[in-house]
């Protein structure tokens, strides 16, 4: 659910050292994937929420994230064609466009974001965490690839808490289903010490990521916690959590952000440093990827900075205190999966957003409701009303899609955003007077 730095936006954006490092990390990863048929390295397709990257690394398996491939297809202008291919094959216009983009990419040769062919999966690790569509997605891929599937069902936090039964259910699946399958596919035995070492690295990287995300409490915010932060969460949400590369990346990123704060700088935007912070906004919902740069500019041109976002929590809500705990390896992975943002109940999501508005001193919050994602979108109008009522801050609501450009109406969205920012200005003036 996070872009690599190969997209159009990043080509023209300023590049910090950490970005260059991330780009190198990703390029190396895709090189390994491309060479996997020759080197014999095993790979595993899986999802961002509830990913078990440390466990895969402990088996020397390479993760492939179809969601990220789909969003990359959106950023590279390929998704319209891919979606069209899938719809011609009978996939409904009503369903998730990540799925259709992925199917279309597969049917077009499975060329990944770096232009290299992705290997067929040795395993589909179906981590059903917070999104029912994942189940169907991998049932569809299984029909294409005829490869094994390992299902990890993560129960939903309907009552806002993780119970012992939920944790035990996930641990039992890890121990009884997932690990034996990984042993079989990789041909390697489960090495818990190795897993613990990865989890220890995860926790270190998570500390630094949280520092970066929480730097937005500073005025001016040195980061954009929605558009900019999708790059920051990239390594930790995807193939690098649990690696020393991720630890180095986040240490470097933290240092850069720390320096921006010291210098009183705002975030980097598509046009360079943001000159002045006019509006501090909390954002709910995933971004649109087909017009990512244009969408971002609609904010930055108005001096609007995202100070917190929920999308950057789909791969883990670290800023609320969760850290991977190497002393309880399976339990901590279970808790990680259970705690991902889209696995939270609607009341818990409302609590989190309200807290963000308050803690980050936001002027308001915006919901980008995407057609593709019922997990996010169903209930967002209720969220809008509740967060407005609780926070006393005005909410805005725009609609788009993840990777289907047919559902990104630039003029309409821009018009709505401008009106929203004007409203914030008027409210601010009213408060002053």
């Amino acid at each position: 659910m996070t872009p690599t730095t190969t997209g159009a936006a990043s080509r023209e954006a300023q590049k910090d050292t950490s970005q260059v490092r991330q780009k190198t990390m990703i390029a190396r990863h895709f090189d390994r994937l491309a060479a996997a048929p020759e080197t014999g390295e095993k790979n595993c397709y899986t999802f961002v929420p509830g990913n078990l990257t440390e466990l895969l690394l402990a088996f020397d398996m390479l993760p492939v994230l179809p969601e990220i491939n789909a969003l990359q297809s959106g950023m590279r202008g390929k998704s319209a064609e891919y979606i069209s291919i899938a719809e011609k094959l009978g996939h409904s216009e009503d369903v998730c466009t990540y799925v259709k983009s992925d199917i279309g990419m597969l049917k077009s040769g499975n060329i990944g974001p770096t232009g290299q062919r992705l290997p067929n999966p040795d395993l589909l690790l179906l981590s059903y965490t917070g999104c029912f569509t994942f189940v169907k997605w991998f049932e569809l891929l299984r029909e294409e690839y005829h490869c094994p599937v390992a299902m990890l069902h993560v129960p939903y936090q309907a009552d806002g808490k993780i119970t012992d039964a939920m944790r035990q259910y996930v641990v039992d699946q890890l121990r009884g289903t997932i690990i034996p399958m990984l042993e079989k596919i990789s041909g390697k035995p489960y090495d818990e010490d190795r897993l613990k070492a990865c989890l220890e690295l995860s926790a270190r990287a998570e500390d630094d990521l949280v520092f970066v995300l929480q730097s937005a409490k500073h005025r001016p915010s040195p980061i954009d916690a929605y558009f900019g932060a999708v790059y920051y969460v990239g390594p930790i949400f995807s193939s690098f959590r649990g690696t020393s590369e991720a630890v180095d990346y986040y240490r470097e990123l933290r240092s850069e952000i720390d320096e921006r704060m010291r210098l009183g700088k705002g975030p980097v935007t598509p046009d360079g440093d943001m000159p002045a912070e006019r509006y501090r906004i909390v954002v709910e919902g995933p971004p649109n990827w087909t017009s990512f740069r244009q969408f971002w500019k609609m904010f930055s041109d108005e001096g609007a900075v995202s100070v917190a976002s929920t999308y950057t929590k789909v791969g883990g809500v670290y800023d609320m205190g969760f850290r991977h705990d190497p002393s309880r390896p399976l339990e901590t992975m279970a808790e990680y999966c259970l705690g991902c943002y889209t696995n939270l109940s609607l009341p818990a999501r409302i609590d989190l957003l309200t807290r963000y508005v308050s803690e980050y001193h936001a002027d308001g919050f915006l919901i980008n409701s995407v057609k593709s994602c019922n997990s996010f979108s169903a209930g967002q109008l209720h969220i809008l009303r509740e967060v407005e009522a609780r926070s006393g801050r005005p909410g805005g609501f725009i609609e788009s899609d993840l990777v289907d450009p047919r559902y990104f109406s630039a003029a309409n969205i821009k018009n709505r955003l401008e009106s929203y920012f004007q409203m914030l200005e008027q409210k601010r003036a009213g408060r002053v007077s």
Binding site: D94, T133, K136, W137, M151, A158, M166, Y169, L346, R349
Partner: protein
């Protein structure tokens, strides 16, 4: 009263129950018994468990084309299916205020998120998201599901229902076994003689049973079965035998079902109101009754699109139903924006095509009011089957 009159009266009563948004039958039951009534959304909950604690399980299946959605639309974007907005509408307009609780089975993200909204909108109600396992190992998924069911019994007791009692649950399982057996017989009769059991009649029977105690639904099914079977005025027509799939959650308007029948289709199998058939056969009564409910869910449930199919081939269940029903064609009839149905459809289409069975697909919303396009599509489909099938 003649058999014909009795049949007409029975169908008419079922139709009235189906159309009664105010759930008068539930209100009457509550005032008679003083018991709790707990609703459930599609597709399946183990009603036996509620019944054993003296609770009336009530199926809540959304609205129809005659329900004006005033408030419900304010909660949902245009690209979300219709059932949550009509359910919200019914909640906010007081239709469901006789319910002491509402259960939300884990079938999709929309129903899942609705459970959270319901918690906030109706804090006085017992609101339970019934998470069902996608791991079918009895020691793993089964253990989790058992815990969910045990938690539900405790929640019901805390609300004033009778305490859990294993013998009472065994008796409830026996009652629902008989109820389900009769529904299976009705489906079997329709497969053999579809002209005897028009689907629009069968459908209102299934819907009526959602608001009745099992002690009343079982005799209703039995009487309908006997009367329909005996009715010699119902004669076969030259219609195409079709299997309808995709309508397991949001329900099509009854007008759509009638339209399909009038367009020349005998619906010989379907997935409407699937709670009555979600478990395929009798649940054992002997032994640990909760474990029996768990095992039935794990091992004997239909291959719903809401379940992960971990073994076998997608579409095997549909293939079995096609063979069993002698369907000559398949209608993919899904609610608009229904993720489980629409994401499943390409895989099911492949399965149907592997069998060389013709199919067609269309979508509906529960409040659709115009069926002309579907009538033409279904009519053409039925004609093509009659003209070009191997028979």
């Amino acid at each position: 009263m003649s058999d014909l009159s009795r049949l007409a009266a029975l169908v008419s009563r079922a139709d009235a129950l189906y159309r009664d948004y105010r759930l008068t039958a539930v209100r009457d039951w509550k005032s008679r018994t003083g018991g709790l009534a707990v609703g459930f959304l599609p597709i399946y909950v183990p009603r036996e468990l509620l019944h054993a604690q003296g609770v009336l399980p009530v199926g809540v299946m959304g609205g129809r084309d005659d329900l004006e959605i005033i408030k419900g639309d304010a909660y949902y974007q245009s690209y979300i299916c219709h059932i949550p907005r009509s359910t919200i509408e019914l909640g906010l307009n007081g239709s469901l205020d006789c319910l002491d609780g509402l259960l939300f089975p884990a079938i999709c993200d929309v129903i899942r998120n609705l459970s959270g909204m319901w918690q906030m909108l109706f804090p006085a109600m017992l609101v339970r998201y019934l998470d069902v396992p996608q791991n079918f190992d009895p020691g793993i998924g089964g253990a989790f599901y058992r815990h969910e069911l045990e938690q539900l019994t405790r929640d019901l007791t805390a609300r004033g229902a009778a305490a859990f009692d294993a013998d009472r649950l065994r008796r409830s399982i026996a009652l629902y076994n008989e109820d389900r057996r009769l529904v299976r017989e009705l489906y079997a009769l329709r497969r053999r003689q579809p002209w005897k059991v028009p689907t629009h009649e069968l459908y209102v029977m299934l819907r009526a049973a959602l608001v009745l105690p099992v002690e009343a639904s079982t005799p209703m099914f039995r009487e309908y079965l006997e009367l329909a079977d005996r009715d010699e005025t119902r004669k076969p027509l030259d219609q195409a035998r079709v299997l309808l799939t995709g309508s397991f959650c949001e329900q099509p308007p009854i007008g759509l079902i009638k339209t399909l029948e009038r367009a020349g289709c005998y619906i010989v199998d379907d997935d409407f109101v699937q709670v009555h058939r979600f478990i395929r056969s009798d649940i054992p009564i002997e032994g640990d009754p909760i474990e029996n409910l768990v095992r039935a869910f794990l091992n004997d449930a239909v291959a719903s699109p809401t379940r992960y199919i971990d073994a076998g081939v997608k579409g095997e269940d549909l293939k079995h139903h096609m063979a069993e029903s002698g369907a000559e064609g398949v209608l993919f009839c899904s609610a608009s924006f229904c993720d489980p149905a629409l994401l499943d459809q390409p895989m099911l289409v492949k399965a149907v095509e592997r069998e060389g069975i013709p199919w067609t697909a269309f979508k509906f919303a529960e409040n659709s009011g115009q069926f002309q396009v579907i009538r033409e599509q279904a009519g053409t489909f039925a004609d093509s089957i009659k003209l070009w099938s191997g028979a």
